[in-house]
Each structure stands twice: as C-alpha cells, then as structure tokens.
Symmetry: C2
Subunit: 317 residues, 2 copies
C-alpha cells in the first residue's frame, strides 16, 4: 500500500496509551498515521505496541475495518520531529499529559508547524481548550476531542469547541470521528468536567452519600449499577429511559417528576468531598473482592467485557 492509497494523514502527538489507541482507530479506517514523541525510544515502543495490539484484535475477532492487522500496522509510522509529523496532516490528536503548561507548550508548537486547514484536537479530559489556545494564530482550528478509556471499545468522544473555534472545524471533527467508528457528541459550550465527568461525579456524589450514611456496603452500591441501572444505560440513555418508561417523556414527567423531586430534596447538596476515611473503608472492602495482586487480571477482564459488549452492540444496530 502506498501513501496515495491512504485517505489522508493523521498526526498523533504523544505516544502513550491514549495516543496508541487513537493510532489504531484511525489506521482501522485506512488513514495514514504518524505518532510523534520527543523521545524516539518511546516512538519505537508505541509502534511495537500498536502492531501487537492490532494483531491481538485480529485474533480476537474485534479488529475494526476492512484492512488486515498487518495492513493497518503498515499505515502507522513514527517521528520525533514535530514539524515533519505535522506536514500535510489533516487532523492532529494531541495526547500529552494533563497539565495546562504542557498543553500550552505543545499547542504553541502546533500553531507554528500546522497547515492552514489542519484541525488540532486535544485529548484533554478536564482542561477546556480556551485555557491554552487563546493567543494562538490558528486557534479557530483548535478544540477538545476527549476519548473514554479504552477508546477502541468505549467509542464516546466529547467534542468541546472553545468560544473561538470555527463551527465548521467542530462539524468536520465530528464527521471524521464518526467515520472512523467513534461516537462523538458536541458540547455547545465549555463547562467544567465536560459531560461525562459531570454525570460520573453526580453518580459518585450520591454513592458517597449512601456510603457515609451507612445505607449500603461498597460492594452493594456497585451492584446497583452493574446488575441494574448500568445494564440499562449500556443501551438506552437516561432521557430515552424516561421516554420509554411512560407514554413519552412529557407523560413521564407528569407522572413521576414530583416523586423524583421529593427524593432529590433529600440529597446531600453538592459539592461532595470524597474523603480519605470513607475511601479507606471502601478500599478495604474492595481489596477483599479483588486483592491487590489480582488488580491487573481484573482490569483485563473488564476490558475483555467492554470488547465483547462493543461487538454485541456493533452487530445489532
């Protein structure tokens, strides 16, 4: 396969786990991917890892796209020269550690080396891009595209434009991410925590209250999700759940909103501090279920379940 067969060039800036995941996702759809890192040893390691990962996915029957693992690996190359990595790139996915200083430094360099039309997206999970792109020349091409870990099997991506991001760039980012098999959502404005973490913290807040007031054990709190509510939410969101549990969501609200209001009137008002004494009790309980030396095994089990669910869902839509 020559470069001219490829759909276009994607630059991945940062060669850690998230950068590697993005590389496998774009290669899966036939994009040519260049992974950049300042340290060439890390680049070499990332290339070896993505090759192994794609081969494993192929064996497990969960490789995306029409190309073989071998063909996909051949689409991924590395570089420790940011300028050449960015040359002709249509899209940059930045995946450096979560620090405003690092994001500022990297985006200043991107601003210098990018093409006029290059889209530059940050994988940041909590820093809005207006905090590090304001003074840059190409700031209208810059935005957040926050993946969920592991991105290959949890396809949600939160797109958050800064106030100065060109809406056309936001729309193109969404199309590209849909094209490569992710499930992007678009936030119309910047908010602290974006959407996923806001909802996650809302869940944890209530769980923390239930723990602190001694209503449930940690193990039983987790069960509420993975044996009940979480199984629903794997297929149907909270709003459609309301919609289908009555004759539409308006009917749901007429019938149940007052009850919900009365229940949430008894919530501990936010913000909630996830305090160490409570965390220590939870840790003790969770370590009994999964001892420290089995944590990696448990993570592998978790990821294999995510993969199986993804396969189930992609097969049935």
């Amino acid at each position: 396969m020559t470069e001219s067969d490829c759909k276009g060039k994607i630059a991945i800036v940062g060669s850690g786990l998230i950068g590697q995941s993005w590389a496998t996702i774009f290669a899966g759809s036939g994009y040519s991917v260049t992974i950049y890192d300042i340290d060439s040893e890390q680049v070499t390691r990332a290339l070896a890892n993505t090759k192994l990962t794609l081969e494993r996915y192929e064996q497990d029957g969960c490789l995306r796209g029409k190309l073989s693992a071998h063909q996909q690996s051949n689409l991924i190359c590395g570089s420790n020269n940011l300028k050449s990595c960015l040359q002709n790139a249509l899209y940059v996915q930045e995946c450096v550690p979560e620090s405003i200083e690092m994001k500022k430094e990297v985006f200043t360099q991107l601003d210098e080396y990018c093409e006029e039309k290059t889209i530059m997206a940050s994988s940041s999970s909590c820093i809005n891009s207006s905090q590090f792109t304001e003074d840059l020349k190409h700031r209208s091409n810059m935005l957040i595209a926050h993946p969920v870990n592991p991105p290959y099997f949890l396809p949600l991506v939160e797109i958050i434009p800064a106030p100065w991001t060109d809406p056309e760039i936001t729309a193109q980012t969404r199309s590209l991410l849909e094209e490569v098999g992710q499930s992007p959502i678009t936030l119309n404005k910047e908010v602290p925590g974006f959407a996923l973490n806001r909802i996650q913290y809302a869940v944890i807040n209530e769980c923390w209250s239930l723990l602190q007031s001694g209503v449930l054990s940690a193990a039983d709190i987790d069960k509420v999700m993975y044996e009940g509510l979480g199984r629903r939410y794997a297929f149907i969101g909270p709003l459609e759940t309301m919609h289908l549990n009555a004759d539409g969501i308006v009917d749901y609200c007429k019938r149940y909103a007052e009850g919900a209001y009365n229940v949430s009137a008894t919530f501990t008002p936010p913000p909630i501090k996830y305090d160490i004494p409570t965390a220590e009790l939870v840790e003790k309980e969770l370590r009994q279920i999964t001892p420290t030396d089995k944590a990696n095994e448990r993570k592998q089990w978790r990821d294999s379940q995510f993969a199986a669910l993804d396969k189930l869902k992609r097969g049935s839509n």
Copy 2:
C-alpha cells in the same frame, strides 16, 4: 413432576407483568409458584403469558435453570383465593399497584392468612414498608424486595427491611433471591427512593441541568451513557471504577477528589424539577429518532439487548 419434588411454594400476589416475571424466575429454580389475583380471568391470562414467555426464552436460548419450559410452566399455577394461595408458602412476593392504600389492604390480608414463618416481600418501587406494615402481627416477616424491569434480565433486587423486620428474614430473603439467580443488595435502612432511583435521579438531575443550560442536545446526552459511561457501568460499579483507575480508591481520591469537588461545586443544587417545557423539547427530539408508532419495536429491541447482555455476563463470570 409432583409437588413433593419441588423446593417449596412461592406465592405471587398480583398477576401483572411484574408478578409474571417473578413467577418465571422462581419456577426457573424449581420452586412451585402460585399466582394470586382477585380476578380469575387475570389469573388465567397470567398463566398463559408465563407459559408463552418461558417457551420463547427456551427458543431464544435464555431460559434459566435446568428444567424445560414445559416443566417450568407446570410449576406455575393460579388461584383467586388468597388464603389457599398462602397456605404452606415459604415466601410471598406482592406485586399490586403502587399505592399505600392497596399495599395496606393486601398486607393486612397477608398478615391474616400467612404461616408463622412465611416471608412477605413487597415489589414496591418507592413506598417503604414501614408505611404499611407497622400495625401488623407478622411485621417482622415483612420487607421490600424491589426488582428492576425486566427482572428476568436485569437481576438487581433492592431489599429494604423496615426497622422491625427480623434481620434473619432479611438474610433469608437475600439467600433465596441469590439462589434463584437474582442479584440482591441490602439497604441497612429505609431511605426515600431506595438506592437505584436515588442514583437514577442524580443522573437525570445533571442531565436536566445540561439540557436547560443548552450544553448538549437530548440525543447527545443519552450517548454519554450508552456509548461511554453506561458501557462501563454494565460491568464495573462507580466505586470499583475509581479503584481500578488509580492505584486503589484512596489513591484515586488523593489525585482526583479535588477536581471532582470543583466540578460538582458548579452543579445546580437539588432538588431539580423535571419541567414540562424542557420535557416537551426532549420529546420532540426523541420522537424524531423513534416515532411514536415505533416505540414498541424500540422497547422490544431494548429488552432483546438486555437479554443478550445478561447471557454475555452469565457466561463470563
């Protein structure tokens, strides 16, 4: 199969969908089930429905237990005589409509007809049992066992004892429900909304805020769950998620609790009213995705997905 082969007798009081579900669950483990309803036509219909349902589960490969659908159907009989329904019953699952008056009336009758050791559980989704069992002779045998719809595929059951429920009864209820393949949790005390709805309302509250502040469309809010967070929660609860995303939950709290605190400081304080104007906008959007005349098809799709996930999970643990 004669009655003496059976493990024991379960009385289901109320023959609607939830009563029917409970019947299939208990029959799946070889219990003899009697479905009671005041109206004998309803009983007849419930028996026909459970038979059909069990046959469908058998065809779809998701029938529980070792007995055939035919054998399981034979374990289920009906009655419109509450006294004889309760005779020799070791466990009663009440499934009448959600009204304190009806619960009071039914539990007063149960109190009169039950055996000394019969456990009497209500399927109530929001009324704590202390509101309708206080004055009864056998109140120490009474508690809530709240299922999640559809109970055959979403196995969580919330057990909530009243202050006067005998702890031994609570423990026996938990064992029985585990034995028949459900996943019970035990609340140590009564709280408004129990656990599942408290957490569900915490989620909806934040979704409602995101809607009202114009951050996301309804469709994109739902995606946060079914393409991201909900897929996680189908396998791993919120506390273990924190635990595995760092070197234990104590480490997680040290690293991320401050960030979460700052985000949740920007939450709209509860209670939140699910107002009709917002619901109307959501309904309009959701009806474009699933038109009114396709709602039943969508519900069938949802339930088939729950069944597939349940199969996946039962196969892998």
